[in-house]
């Protein structure tokens, strides 16, 4: 039983990570042609990145856009999750359906609709519009993550705080927030990561601003090059680091809470 279970898990794991691993392997391959057999190890393509001003500017742009997107998707996701887990929410199904709209609508279609509206309103496309549009698409992810955690909290703790005279804000800040802090960090990370990886929304709404994904995509359409490989691997590594830091942070907080519970 366990053998077949592990075989399935390993096969799917290999499938999910194989394309990413190949990308990484080629970024260290000495030949500029992306073909097997491999021809030796080199750091050259990463060294090229240090001279590539266009990539660097794009990276800074992407990074600066990703920060507000991360904060806003965590904050608005939290608001949505608090509402979803409240027993007094009316039109619950309607609200859930609304949250699913930006997740399920074809992203190209949604972005074109937004571009049309912006233009009809006489507004400019640019970083502000891009940040808002990305946040809208990411809210469903963060709301789902945060409500899954809020649902499992012991509601009696918050009720006790309220009974003892805490205002809704105080009971949230002192009772709920400490319990979901690591999940909020995770929601912020997801916002940053999905913003960095976005291409479709940026294609239609970034205006004159050029995030890294757009620069990479325009070069990629012309030809594959090891420099592109290297920058993609850098972005992947960054993603992996963000995921790892978030996971370790959450794990340490959980462990501390368990230890406190043992003492109590």
């Amino acid at each position: 039983m366990n053998a077949s279970r592990n075989a399935i898990l390993i096969a799917v794991g290999v499938f999910l990570y194989l394309p990413i691993a190949i990308l990484a392997v080629f970024s260290f391959n000495a030949s500029p042609l992306m073909a097997f057999p491999l021809s030796g190890f080199t750091w050259d393509w990463y060294r090229h990145l240090a001279d590539n001003r266009e990539f660097q500017a794009g990276f800074v742009t992407s990074f600066l856009i990703a920060q507000p997107v991360g904060v806003m998707s965590a904050g608005l996701g939290l608001m949505a999750a608090l509402a979803l887990t409240s027993s007094r929410l009316r039109w619950r199904l309607g609200f859930i359906a609304l949250l699913l709209v930006p997740f399920l609508a074809p992203r190209t279609v949604l972005s074109i609709a937004q571009a049309m509206m912006i233009s009809r309103l006489g507004l400019d496309r640019g970083p502000v519009v891009l940040i808002i549009a990305q946040t809208i698409v990411i809210i469903p992810f963060t709301a789902a993550l945060l409500s899954s955690v809020l649902m499992r909290l012991d509601a009696r703790l918050e009720e006790a705080a309220r009974d003892l005279g805490a205002t809704p804000w105080e009971s949230f800040r002192l009772v709920v927030l400490p319990q979901i802090q690591s999940t909020l960090v995770a929601a912020y990370s997801i916002g940053v990561i999905l913003s960095l990886g976005d291409l479709t929304i940026a294609t239609f709404l970034s205006g004159r601003v050029q995030p890294l994904s757009l620069i990479v995509a325009s070069q990629f359409l012309r030809q594959l090059s090891p420099d592109l490989n290297a920058i993609q691997v850098v972005m992947l590594a960054l993603t992996a680091v963000i995921v790892a830091i978030t996971e370790i942070y959450g794990w340490r907080r959980r462990r501390r809470r368990e230890r406190l519970l043992e003492i109590a």
């Binding site: 279970r5 190209t108 972005m235």
Partner: protein, 296 residues
């Protein structure tokens, strides 16, 4: 969803700003398709003329080329649903049998590929499936083939594989959550009474996880059917989708009314098909029976 906080303040009122943002930022723009679809374009001055004409709707509804494209995305969605469900069930069952301590790590491993950028994934597939890519190199090395396979990249095969890859985690997650809720004693009882694993799956697991399968079907169908990037960049000449068509009409051709009519048609067809298909998944899995019983 109260619009104004009443005393005492309720968490439910926090839904209002989120609903307003999504409403104004996502629903209203797509509702504007309806308005723009009846406008016409003055191609001398490249301006929209706010008048009422059904010309763009006639254009979309009478030309087979648009419907062929829409049919293609339905096919993309359908194939993605079938493939992710076939792999998703054994995967979900395997995940549910992991010790509790390993499940958190398994979740991270399952979800992390979703975080890789859109362009990174497309790029990686070109390296795996290309003429000098990994698959061809391995097959040539093993002397299975003497010439590189050309149908791997820029083909429907590449599109379907990429969509399967993109959406497998969503189906697996929906099925995993559903499988976790199945009382494992029911499966053991079925096995003790002499059921083969496949029979136990068909009679116990499939009906009890029907709602999960329906939810996964809805999600995967909508996501795979609405995906434009992978078919466009990996599907080669066969990779045209209504989404790229809408993009061309909107951007290059400046024919916003036709773009809007096509976009609305696509949205309605996708939504209708997603409901139909997930309903079908619920009925075929036998998932409706336990549901009905719990309501009766």
């Amino acid at each position: 969803m109260r619009l104004l906080p009443t005393k005492p303040f309720s968490r439910a009122s926090l839904a209002a700003p989120v609903a307003a943002l999504i409403g104004l930022g996502a629903v209203v723009p797509m509702a504007m398709f309806l308005v723009i679809s009846v406008y016409s374009v003055d191609f001398d001055s490249y301006t929209l003329q706010p008048n009422f004409t059904m010309a763009s709707w006639r254009e979309v509804w009478t030309h087979a080329s648009y419907w062929i494209l829409i049919g293609k995305t339905l096919n993309n969605g359908l194939l993605a649903v079938v493939m992710t469900a076939i792999v998703g069930y054994p995967l979900a069952l395997a995940l549910s049998r992991l010790p509790k301590s390993a499940k958190g790590a398994a979740l991270v491993i399952l979800l992390t590929p979703l975080y890789t950028g859109e362009i990174v994934r497309v790029y990686a597939w070109r390296l795996v499936l290309g003429q000098d890519g990994l698959v061809n190199a391995l097959l040539m090395f093993a002397h299975v083939i003497s010439e590189p396979l050309r149908f791997l990249l820029f083909s429907p095969f590449a599109t379907h594989l990429a969509l399967f890859y993109d959406d497998l985690p969503f189906m697996a997650l929906a099925l995993w959550v559903a499988v976790e809720r199945v009382d494992s004693r029911l499966i053991e009882a079925a096995r003790d009474l002499g059921c083969r694993p496949t029979t136990a799956f068909r009679l116990v697991i499939l009906p009890l996880t029907g709602p999960g399968l329906a939810a996964g079907t809805f999600m995967v169908f909508a996501l795979a059917g609405g995906e434009a990037l992978a078919p466009n960049l990996l599907g080669g000449t066969t990779g045209a989708t209504p989404m790229t068509m809408i993009d061309n009409l909107f951007g290059t051709a400046f024919d916003w009314p036709t773009a809007s009519a096509l976009a609305l048609t696509l949205l309605l067809v996708l939504l209708f098909a997603a409901f139909l298909l997930s309903g079908l998944a619920l009925v075929l899995s036998g998932g409706l029976r336990p549901l009905r019983r719990s309501f009766a």
